[in-house]
Symmetry: C2
Subunit: 198 residues, 2 copies
Protein backbone atom coordinates (compact mmCIF):
# COMPACT_ATOMS: atom_id res chain seq x y z
CA UNK A 1 0.00 0.00 0.00
CA UNK A 2 3.07 2.21 -0.11
CA UNK A 3 3.21 4.58 -3.07
CA UNK A 4 5.67 3.18 -5.64
CA UNK A 5 7.25 6.63 -6.06
CA UNK A 6 8.06 6.71 -2.34
CA UNK A 7 9.14 3.06 -2.27
CA UNK A 8 11.41 3.61 -5.25
CA UNK A 9 13.24 6.49 -3.56
CA UNK A 10 13.48 4.62 -0.24
CA UNK A 11 15.04 1.68 -2.10
CA UNK A 12 17.61 3.92 -3.77
CA UNK A 13 18.48 5.80 -0.59
CA UNK A 14 19.01 2.69 1.49
CA UNK A 15 21.72 1.51 -0.88
CA UNK A 16 23.82 4.50 0.20
CA UNK A 17 26.45 3.92 2.91
CA UNK A 18 25.18 4.45 6.46
CA UNK A 19 21.50 4.63 5.48
CA UNK A 20 19.09 1.85 6.42
CA UNK A 21 15.42 1.45 5.61
CA UNK A 22 14.20 3.55 8.54
CA UNK A 23 16.65 6.38 7.86
CA UNK A 24 15.68 6.32 4.19
CA UNK A 25 12.00 6.63 5.12
CA UNK A 26 12.72 9.48 7.53
CA UNK A 27 14.58 11.30 4.77
CA UNK A 28 11.74 10.81 2.29
CA UNK A 29 9.13 12.09 4.77
CA UNK A 30 11.39 15.02 5.59
CA UNK A 31 11.68 15.86 1.90
CA UNK A 32 7.93 15.57 1.31
CA UNK A 33 7.28 17.96 4.19
CA UNK A 34 10.03 20.39 3.15
CA UNK A 35 9.19 23.70 1.58
CA UNK A 36 10.98 25.81 -1.01
CA UNK A 37 12.01 23.31 -3.63
CA UNK A 38 14.40 21.33 -1.43
CA UNK A 39 13.70 18.17 -3.44
CA UNK A 40 14.42 19.85 -6.78
CA UNK A 41 17.58 21.49 -5.39
CA UNK A 42 18.87 18.14 -4.12
CA UNK A 43 18.06 16.46 -7.44
CA UNK A 44 19.88 19.28 -9.28
CA UNK A 45 22.96 18.96 -7.05
CA UNK A 46 23.06 15.24 -7.76
CA UNK A 47 22.69 15.74 -11.49
CA UNK A 48 25.44 18.34 -11.40
CA UNK A 49 27.71 15.90 -9.56
CA UNK A 50 26.99 13.17 -12.08
CA UNK A 51 27.61 15.41 -15.05
CA UNK A 52 30.51 17.58 -13.93
CA UNK A 53 32.77 15.48 -11.71
CA UNK A 54 35.89 14.25 -13.45
CA UNK A 55 39.18 12.66 -12.46
CA UNK A 56 42.26 14.89 -12.40
CA UNK A 57 44.65 13.73 -15.12
CA UNK A 58 47.64 14.59 -12.92
CA UNK A 59 46.87 13.33 -9.41
CA UNK A 60 43.61 11.33 -9.67
CA UNK A 61 41.61 13.68 -7.42
CA UNK A 62 37.89 14.03 -8.18
CA UNK A 63 36.56 17.54 -8.83
CA UNK A 64 34.76 19.61 -11.42
CA UNK A 65 37.97 20.64 -13.17
CA UNK A 66 40.97 18.93 -14.76
CA UNK A 67 43.56 19.68 -13.47
CA UNK A 68 41.87 19.66 -10.04
CA UNK A 69 41.90 22.74 -7.76
CA UNK A 70 44.99 21.41 -5.92
CA UNK A 71 47.10 20.68 -9.01
CA UNK A 72 45.89 23.90 -10.64
CA UNK A 73 46.75 26.09 -7.66
CA UNK A 74 50.04 27.94 -8.37
CA UNK A 75 50.57 28.50 -4.63
CA UNK A 76 50.92 24.80 -3.78
CA UNK A 77 54.48 23.44 -3.38
CA UNK A 78 55.11 21.29 -6.42
CA UNK A 79 58.15 19.37 -5.09
CA UNK A 80 56.22 17.48 -2.42
CA UNK A 81 53.65 14.82 -3.25
CA UNK A 82 51.51 13.10 -0.66
CA UNK A 83 50.53 9.59 -1.80
CA UNK A 84 47.06 8.48 -0.64
CA UNK A 85 44.92 5.43 -1.32
CA UNK A 86 41.62 7.17 -2.04
CA UNK A 87 40.21 10.61 -2.76
CA UNK A 88 38.55 10.49 0.70
CA UNK A 89 42.02 10.44 2.26
CA UNK A 90 43.01 13.52 0.23
CA UNK A 91 39.96 15.33 1.57
CA UNK A 92 40.80 14.28 5.14
CA UNK A 93 44.30 15.76 4.78
CA UNK A 94 42.96 18.96 3.15
CA UNK A 95 40.64 19.45 6.13
CA UNK A 96 43.66 19.83 8.42
CA UNK A 97 44.82 22.86 6.33
CA UNK A 98 48.39 21.85 7.22
CA UNK A 99 49.59 20.53 3.90
CA UNK A 100 50.65 22.79 1.05
CA UNK A 101 52.03 20.25 -1.43
CA UNK A 102 50.38 18.16 -4.13
CA UNK A 103 48.78 14.71 -3.99
CA UNK A 104 48.78 11.43 -5.82
CA UNK A 105 45.77 9.14 -5.51
CA UNK A 106 46.79 5.50 -6.01
CA UNK A 107 43.22 4.29 -6.36
CA UNK A 108 43.69 1.51 -3.81
CA UNK A 109 46.44 -0.59 -2.24
CA UNK A 110 48.38 -3.65 -3.32
CA UNK A 111 46.36 -6.73 -2.47
CA UNK A 112 47.33 -10.07 -4.03
CA UNK A 113 44.17 -11.68 -2.58
CA UNK A 114 41.94 -9.14 -4.34
CA UNK A 115 44.09 -9.41 -7.47
CA UNK A 116 45.35 -5.82 -7.19
CA UNK A 117 48.94 -5.51 -8.33
CA UNK A 118 51.04 -2.42 -9.20
CA UNK A 119 49.40 -2.21 -12.64
CA UNK A 120 45.95 -1.78 -11.09
CA UNK A 121 47.16 1.27 -9.15
CA UNK A 122 48.35 4.55 -10.67
CA UNK A 123 51.96 3.83 -9.75
CA UNK A 124 53.31 4.24 -13.30
CA UNK A 125 51.91 7.76 -13.38
CA UNK A 126 53.51 8.50 -10.00
CA UNK A 127 56.91 7.32 -11.25
CA UNK A 128 56.53 9.60 -14.25
CA UNK A 129 55.62 12.59 -12.04
CA UNK A 130 58.58 11.97 -9.73
CA UNK A 131 61.08 11.57 -12.58
CA UNK A 132 59.92 14.43 -14.78
CA UNK A 133 58.69 17.07 -12.36
CA UNK A 134 61.60 17.41 -9.95
CA UNK A 135 59.78 15.98 -6.96
CA UNK A 136 61.85 16.23 -3.79
CA UNK A 137 59.72 14.32 -1.28
CA UNK A 138 57.00 11.67 -1.36
CA UNK A 139 54.95 11.49 1.83
CA UNK A 140 53.41 8.02 1.86
CA UNK A 141 50.05 8.32 3.59
CA UNK A 142 48.56 4.90 2.88
CA UNK A 143 46.68 3.35 5.79
CA UNK A 144 48.30 1.17 8.46
CA UNK A 145 46.57 -1.96 7.18
CA UNK A 146 48.80 -4.82 6.02
CA UNK A 147 48.09 -3.80 2.42
CA UNK A 148 48.76 -0.11 3.15
CA UNK A 149 52.12 -0.95 4.73
CA UNK A 150 52.99 -3.33 1.89
CA UNK A 151 52.18 -0.60 -0.62
CA UNK A 152 54.42 1.84 1.27
CA UNK A 153 57.29 -0.70 1.18
CA UNK A 154 56.66 -1.31 -2.51
CA UNK A 155 57.03 2.43 -3.18
CA UNK A 156 60.37 2.41 -1.34
CA UNK A 157 61.43 -0.41 -3.68
CA UNK A 158 60.19 1.45 -6.80
CA UNK A 159 62.04 4.66 -5.97
CA UNK A 160 65.23 3.18 -4.49
CA UNK A 161 67.30 4.39 -7.48
CA UNK A 162 65.74 7.86 -7.51
CA UNK A 163 66.87 10.90 -5.56
CA UNK A 164 63.38 11.51 -4.11
CA UNK A 165 63.07 11.30 -0.32
CA UNK A 166 60.33 8.95 0.88
CA UNK A 167 58.67 9.66 4.22
CA UNK A 168 55.75 8.05 6.03
CA UNK A 169 53.14 10.10 7.93
CA UNK A 170 53.44 9.61 11.70
CA UNK A 171 51.26 7.09 13.51
CA UNK A 172 50.76 7.42 17.24
CA UNK A 173 48.48 8.62 20.00
CA UNK A 174 45.65 10.80 18.58
CA UNK A 175 45.66 14.39 19.86
CA UNK A 176 43.32 14.52 22.84
CA UNK A 177 43.46 10.72 23.18
CA UNK A 178 44.10 9.18 26.59
CA UNK A 179 46.93 6.69 26.82
CA UNK A 180 44.72 4.27 28.73
CA UNK A 181 42.27 4.02 25.83
CA UNK A 182 44.82 3.56 23.06
CA UNK A 183 44.98 0.13 21.40
CA UNK A 184 48.23 -1.81 21.57
CA UNK A 185 49.01 -1.47 17.85
CA UNK A 186 48.82 2.32 18.04
CA UNK A 187 50.85 2.30 21.28
CA UNK A 188 53.57 0.22 19.60
CA UNK A 189 53.68 2.70 16.69
CA UNK A 190 53.78 5.64 19.11
CA UNK A 191 56.74 4.18 21.02
CA UNK A 192 58.57 3.16 17.85
CA UNK A 193 58.08 6.63 16.37
CA UNK A 194 59.20 8.55 19.48
CA UNK A 195 61.15 11.78 18.88
CA UNK A 196 63.76 13.58 20.94
CA UNK A 197 62.43 16.30 23.23
CA UNK A 198 64.18 19.45 22.11
CA UNK B 1 40.25 23.25 -2.15
CA UNK B 2 37.11 21.10 -2.21
CA UNK B 3 35.26 21.11 -5.51
CA UNK B 4 32.19 23.39 -5.21
CA UNK B 5 30.01 20.74 -6.89
CA UNK B 6 30.96 18.23 -4.19
CA UNK B 7 30.64 20.80 -1.39
CA UNK B 8 27.23 21.84 -2.63
CA UNK B 9 25.89 18.29 -2.54
CA UNK B 10 27.48 17.62 0.88
CA UNK B 11 25.76 20.76 2.21
CA UNK B 12 22.39 19.66 0.88
CA UNK B 13 22.73 16.09 2.16
CA UNK B 14 23.73 17.10 5.67
CA UNK B 15 20.46 19.00 6.09
CA UNK B 16 18.60 15.70 5.85
CA UNK B 17 17.61 14.00 9.11
CA UNK B 18 20.20 11.60 10.50
CA UNK B 19 22.98 12.71 8.13
CA UNK B 20 26.00 14.64 9.39
CA UNK B 21 28.93 16.08 7.49
CA UNK B 22 30.95 12.85 7.50
CA UNK B 23 28.01 10.69 6.42
CA UNK B 24 27.24 13.19 3.64
CA UNK B 25 30.85 13.00 2.42
CA UNK B 26 30.79 9.19 2.53
CA UNK B 27 27.63 9.21 0.44
CA UNK B 28 29.11 11.60 -2.12
CA UNK B 29 32.28 9.51 -2.47
CA UNK B 30 30.17 6.38 -2.76
CA UNK B 31 28.11 7.99 -5.52
CA UNK B 32 31.19 9.21 -7.38
CA UNK B 33 32.65 5.68 -7.32
CA UNK B 34 29.34 4.01 -8.26
CA UNK B 35 28.83 2.58 -11.70
CA UNK B 36 25.76 2.27 -13.89
CA UNK B 37 24.10 5.64 -13.58
CA UNK B 38 23.32 5.40 -9.85
CA UNK B 39 23.56 9.19 -9.50
CA UNK B 40 21.17 9.85 -12.38
CA UNK B 41 18.74 7.20 -11.10
CA UNK B 42 18.72 8.76 -7.62
CA UNK B 43 18.22 12.25 -9.08
CA UNK B 44 15.35 10.94 -11.19
CA UNK B 45 13.69 9.26 -8.19
CA UNK B 46 13.90 12.55 -6.29
CA UNK B 47 12.48 14.55 -9.17
CA UNK B 48 9.65 12.04 -9.51
CA UNK B 49 8.89 12.37 -5.79
CA UNK B 50 8.85 16.16 -6.04
CA UNK B 51 6.60 16.17 -9.07
CA UNK B 52 4.19 13.32 -8.43
CA UNK B 53 3.52 13.14 -4.68
CA UNK B 54 0.19 14.63 -3.65
CA UNK B 55 -2.00 14.64 -0.57
CA UNK B 56 -5.03 12.36 -0.54
CA UNK B 57 -8.17 14.52 -0.49
CA UNK B 58 -9.93 11.97 1.73
CA UNK B 59 -7.46 10.90 4.42
CA UNK B 60 -4.40 13.17 4.07
CA UNK B 61 -2.01 10.33 3.14
CA UNK B 62 0.85 11.19 0.77
CA UNK B 63 1.16 9.14 -2.41
CA UNK B 64 1.22 9.47 -6.18
CA UNK B 65 -2.54 9.19 -6.52
CA UNK B 66 -5.62 10.97 -5.15
CA UNK B 67 -7.41 9.12 -3.61
CA UNK B 68 -4.42 7.33 -2.16
CA UNK B 69 -3.88 3.55 -2.59
CA UNK B 70 -5.53 2.89 0.81
CA UNK B 71 -8.67 4.98 0.22
CA UNK B 72 -8.89 3.73 -3.36
CA UNK B 73 -8.65 0.05 -2.44
CA UNK B 74 -12.16 -1.50 -2.55
CA UNK B 75 -11.02 -4.32 -0.26
CA UNK B 76 -10.35 -2.09 2.75
CA UNK B 77 -13.07 -1.90 5.42
CA UNK B 78 -14.64 1.51 5.08
CA UNK B 79 -16.38 1.62 8.49
CA UNK B 80 -13.19 1.75 10.52
CA UNK B 81 -10.86 4.75 10.48
CA UNK B 82 -7.53 4.86 12.26
CA UNK B 83 -6.60 8.42 13.26
CA UNK B 84 -2.87 9.17 13.16
CA UNK B 85 -0.77 12.29 13.65
CA UNK B 86 1.48 12.00 10.62
CA UNK B 87 1.84 10.05 7.40
CA UNK B 88 4.87 8.31 8.97
CA UNK B 89 2.53 6.75 11.55
CA UNK B 90 0.24 5.48 8.79
CA UNK B 91 3.24 3.80 7.15
CA UNK B 92 4.29 2.24 10.47
CA UNK B 93 0.80 0.73 10.89
CA UNK B 94 0.73 -0.48 7.27
CA UNK B 95 4.03 -2.29 7.83
CA UNK B 96 2.37 -4.53 10.43
CA UNK B 97 -0.09 -5.75 7.73
CA UNK B 98 -2.66 -6.18 10.52
CA UNK B 99 -5.00 -3.32 9.74
CA UNK B 100 -7.57 -3.48 6.95
CA UNK B 101 -9.51 -0.25 7.56
CA UNK B 102 -8.94 3.32 6.38
CA UNK B 103 -6.91 6.16 7.89
CA UNK B 104 -7.20 9.81 8.75
CA UNK B 105 -4.05 11.90 9.03
CA UNK B 106 -4.56 14.82 11.44
CA UNK B 107 -1.39 16.60 10.36
CA UNK B 108 -0.20 17.05 13.94
CA UNK B 109 -1.57 17.22 17.48
CA UNK B 110 -3.25 19.90 19.55
CA UNK B 111 -0.57 22.08 21.11
CA UNK B 112 -1.59 25.43 22.62
CA UNK B 113 2.11 26.31 23.14
CA UNK B 114 2.86 25.87 19.43
CA UNK B 115 -0.42 27.62 18.55
CA UNK B 116 -1.97 24.49 17.06
CA UNK B 117 -5.69 24.32 17.75
CA UNK B 118 -8.42 22.11 16.22
CA UNK B 119 -8.59 24.35 13.14
CA UNK B 120 -4.95 23.69 12.32
CA UNK B 121 -5.62 19.94 12.20
CA UNK B 122 -7.88 18.17 9.73
CA UNK B 123 -10.53 17.50 12.38
CA UNK B 124 -13.39 19.14 10.45
CA UNK B 125 -12.77 16.72 7.59
CA UNK B 126 -12.74 13.80 10.01
CA UNK B 127 -16.11 14.88 11.46
CA UNK B 128 -17.51 15.04 7.95
CA UNK B 129 -16.22 11.54 7.11
CA UNK B 130 -17.64 10.07 10.32
CA UNK B 131 -21.06 11.69 9.86
CA UNK B 132 -21.53 11.05 6.13
CA UNK B 133 -19.76 7.78 5.49
CA UNK B 134 -21.29 5.50 8.12
CA UNK B 135 -18.08 5.08 10.13
CA UNK B 136 -18.53 2.55 12.92
CA UNK B 137 -15.21 2.85 14.78
CA UNK B 138 -12.43 5.42 15.15
CA UNK B 139 -9.14 3.95 16.39
CA UNK B 140 -7.22 6.86 17.88
CA UNK B 141 -3.53 6.14 17.29
CA UNK B 142 -2.00 9.47 18.31
CA UNK B 143 1.23 9.19 20.31
CA UNK B 144 1.36 8.92 24.11
CA UNK B 145 2.82 12.42 24.46
CA UNK B 146 0.81 14.95 26.47
CA UNK B 147 -0.36 16.51 23.21
CA UNK B 148 -1.21 13.13 21.69
CA UNK B 149 -3.32 12.20 24.73
CA UNK B 150 -4.98 15.61 24.78
CA UNK B 151 -5.85 15.22 21.10
CA UNK B 152 -7.36 11.79 21.81
CA UNK B 153 -9.50 13.28 24.61
CA UNK B 154 -10.51 16.14 22.34
CA UNK B 155 -11.75 13.63 19.73
CA UNK B 156 -13.84 11.91 22.43
CA UNK B 157 -15.36 15.33 23.14
CA UNK B 158 -16.01 16.05 19.43
CA UNK B 159 -17.77 12.75 18.81
CA UNK B 160 -19.63 12.40 22.11
CA UNK B 161 -23.01 12.95 20.37
CA UNK B 162 -22.24 10.59 17.49
CA UNK B 163 -22.82 6.86 17.37
CA UNK B 164 -19.24 6.12 16.34
CA UNK B 165 -17.23 3.98 18.76
CA UNK B 166 -13.88 5.52 19.76
CA UNK B 167 -11.02 3.24 20.73
CA UNK B 168 -7.38 3.85 21.59
CA UNK B 169 -4.57 1.56 20.37
CA UNK B 170 -3.05 -0.45 23.23
CA UNK B 171 0.07 0.74 24.99
CA UNK B 172 2.14 -1.73 26.96
CA UNK B 173 5.21 -3.96 26.98
CA UNK B 174 6.67 -4.25 23.47
CA UNK B 175 6.65 -7.78 22.07
CA UNK B 176 10.02 -9.34 22.88
CA UNK B 177 10.67 -6.66 25.51
CA UNK B 178 11.90 -7.70 28.93
CA UNK B 179 9.93 -6.41 31.92
CA UNK B 180 13.14 -5.38 33.67
CA UNK B 181 14.03 -2.95 30.86
CA UNK B 182 10.62 -1.33 30.51
CA UNK B 183 10.29 2.31 31.63
CA UNK B 184 7.82 3.12 34.40
CA UNK B 185 5.39 5.02 32.14
CA UNK B 186 5.04 2.04 29.82
CA UNK B 187 4.73 -0.29 32.82
CA UNK B 188 1.91 1.85 34.24
CA UNK B 189 0.11 1.73 30.86
CA UNK B 190 0.62 -2.04 30.65
CA UNK B 191 -0.89 -2.61 34.10
CA UNK B 192 -3.74 -0.20 33.49
CA UNK B 193 -4.56 -1.87 30.15
CA UNK B 194 -4.46 -5.45 31.48
CA UNK B 195 -6.97 -7.87 29.97
CA UNK B 196 -8.65 -10.99 31.36
CA UNK B 197 -6.92 -14.28 30.56
CA UNK B 198 -9.50 -16.30 28.68
Amino acid sequence: MVSPVIQNLVNRLRRLPGIGTRSAERIVFHLMAAQGGEIAALADSLTELGERICTCGICGNLSDSDPCPVCGNPEREREIICVVEQVEDLYAIERSSQYRGLYHVLGGVLSPIAGIGPNELSIGKLVERVRHKGVRELIVATNTSTEGEATALYLVHVFKEDRVRLTRIAHGIPVGGHLSYVDSGTMAKALEGRRPLS
